[in-house]
Symmetry: C2
Subunit: 435 residues, 2 copies
Amino acid sequence: MNTGVGNRSTGLLTDRYELTMLASALRDGTAARRCSFEVFARNLPGGRRYGVVAGIGRMLDALADFRFGKAELDALEENGLVDSDTLSFLADYRFQGEIDGYPEGELYFPGSPILSVTSTFADAVLLETLVLSVLNHDCAVASAAARMASAANGRRLIEMGSRRTHEEAAVAAARAAYLAGFSATSNLEAGRRYGIPTAGTSAHAFTLLHDTEETAFRTQVEVLGVGTTLLVDTYDITEGIATAVRVAGPQLGAIRIDSGDVGVLARQAREQLDSLGATGTRILVSGDLDEYAIATLRADPVDGYGVGTSVVTGSGAPAAGMVYKLVEVDGKPVAKRSQHKTSRGGRKAALRRHRETGTAVEEVVYRVGEGHPEPELGPHDQKLHIPLWRDGAKAPGVPDLQQGRERLRQALVSVPWEGLTLSRGEPALPTTFLP
Amino acid sequence: MNTGVGNRSTGLLTDRYELTMLASALRDGTAARRCSFEVFARNLPGGRRYGVVAGIGRMLDALADFRFGKAELDALEENGLVDSDTLSFLADYRFQGEIDGYPEGELYFPGSPILSVTSTFADAVLLETLVLSVLNHDCAVASAAARMASAANGRRLIEMGSRRTHEEAAVAAARAAYLAGFSATSNLEAGRRYGIPTAGTSAHAFTLLHDTEETAFRTQVEVLGVGTTLLVDTYDITEGIATAVRVAGPQLGAIRIDSGDVGVLARQAREQLDSLGATGTRILVSGDLDEYAIATLRADPVDGYGVGTSVVTGSGAPAAGMVYKLVEVDGKPVAKRSQHKTSRGGRKAALRRHRETGTAVEEVVYRVGEGHPEPELGPHDQKLHIPLWRDGAKAPGVPDLQQGRERLRQALVSVPWEGLTLSRGEPALPTTFLP
């Protein structure tokens, strides 16, 4: 099923310093020290109220391919980047430690320990770049997409931003948007790789190619059926709609408007469609929409939104700000001294407290390990970590994309209503860090 | 050499509507119409003065792999996305048209015809998504990176943003940053795939792993040599620098400061290093730097910058805003009717006019084809299009990455000085569109 990165080694999708640190640690024996690294975000971008965990499934697939084969070892050797002991270590490398973390679709807040990686230093340090690349990208897209889904309030959202981002990032973005509540993607590879429904019918070029709009519509309806979506704004929208209904009949599936003041145009279009008897024809709008534009259109007769640039680029926050920090060495907490950045040492996990009604009230982050008894779990509370990696492979029972989608739906229902607003503010839940 | 996307089909890295348009156009015969598509940006983001063309080499590699093999055809057939005529067409598909365009490292301005694609509609329409994905990403990164290089004013820039973007986008971002004047990347795959110099020594985790900063430094120097870069801000910077020089001697290659007010800290560090006799030890700074932060540090004794998030995400403009528009059908110009968006029909090329001194003064965009004589070329003027794709393959003589890097260096020298400022304003050159 995975035809992408998964087919080859992901070993070199890595910063050089991970390998030089490994080489040094192998030399002085610290490579074998038992370490815990933690992935978390110091804050949420732009006053957002929550983040969405995404990319866990992709990350685990990429870790399964995080091996160093002959090609990778040769490349490292040729450039003299590491010594022969390090090359030997890499030749046998497969991550043997444990990873626990938040499942996909779970919410996160500043300081939430999204991932806890425990193993030798040598094993764990290598994962930093790849783990962060996947999570920083996918969480950024899903976090923006979830706000769009809230703004759309049940109306259909189609991700169509492939052309606005790197061609492989596009496939991952489609996945993250779907996780966060989008209904479909324009990206065919995302359809193949992840089973996400795909959508798309025609662009302005198809109309321009033809001698008239009518001949273009006629062919499209002949090939794709009357249920298709006709793009009506290449020339005059009113004429476009009239032609569309004349050609397809009142059973026309949908029209799409891609430019202009889409709210005004949607109202006019609805009236015109209804007057032509096409009362069931849906109205899709697209063109530089973001969560605010979607929210603004709530009162207008729009049935679905096509969203491009803003969703694939995280709507102003293209990286989620996740970091991968060493928090524990041989059972002792460690942290960089810093005046400005919050770093809390020690291996940690988290739980979410809820009222009896199901409303979430607090994220509790607590220390894990000897001398740190687990906090008491109330009847409505929920532990947030699940096992993600065990015995050199993805742990059994890691939820899939569909389950992640459902988890997010439920998690958003549990958030206090102020936490779902688009306006800037405090995180939807406060986080308590137990000592 | 290319171990990434190039090893497999890129055919499905495509929006579904490209294939449905193909299917419809095959049905009514318009698929065979002779078309020109043009790639251009309507404007430059955020009042920038110029954009940098990047990704042409990657795009041509991706086009060479833009084929539909059994796996791709099966995926399309299974989902009933296209009819059997379309599947037959795709089975034999290889882009047979011509592509001309700006070489990598060239500057572009609003409306510059970066790419001109000429072929049948069927052949050309399929390329839209992949072409735009590559160019929108790579041009965004290179355009931001070039501003950073200007701001750095000859000081060394290292791209270290892999962890802040999708894992494959990271490799492309390293390439685009290098094209734009960065000296090195942290990304090992970019080193392997594109021959870009790599850099990196250690993170805070390496110091935290050890019992003392001194033991960490001692091992690093033993393994990587005294020419290495020691990260001195895990605990107290002044002590860190003292320890670094004590361990490595005054021949220490460099120190890195990753947090705090790096300007102040760099001045203190320079004084301290000099007082310890380490007058040749360089000072590298990193930590949320962008072009403005780099410019602000101009007066401080900084020898190099490590840049992460801002460069790989295009410093506020993660997509370059390139579009792929049908501009000509069977020799006749076409354009969507639009009140807000500028679309100019007709196949076009461009030249840049220069003063005798070499200073560029104007971008001239002109029509190409029957009835459109070429504008006169002055002795200091330069045609901007080169052949990029001919006879089903990359055209001979397309410049490589190193040549693109040199082209940009020269192009920036030719821009009037106001065009190189970081502040918002008009494009560095005006563009004239000949009728």
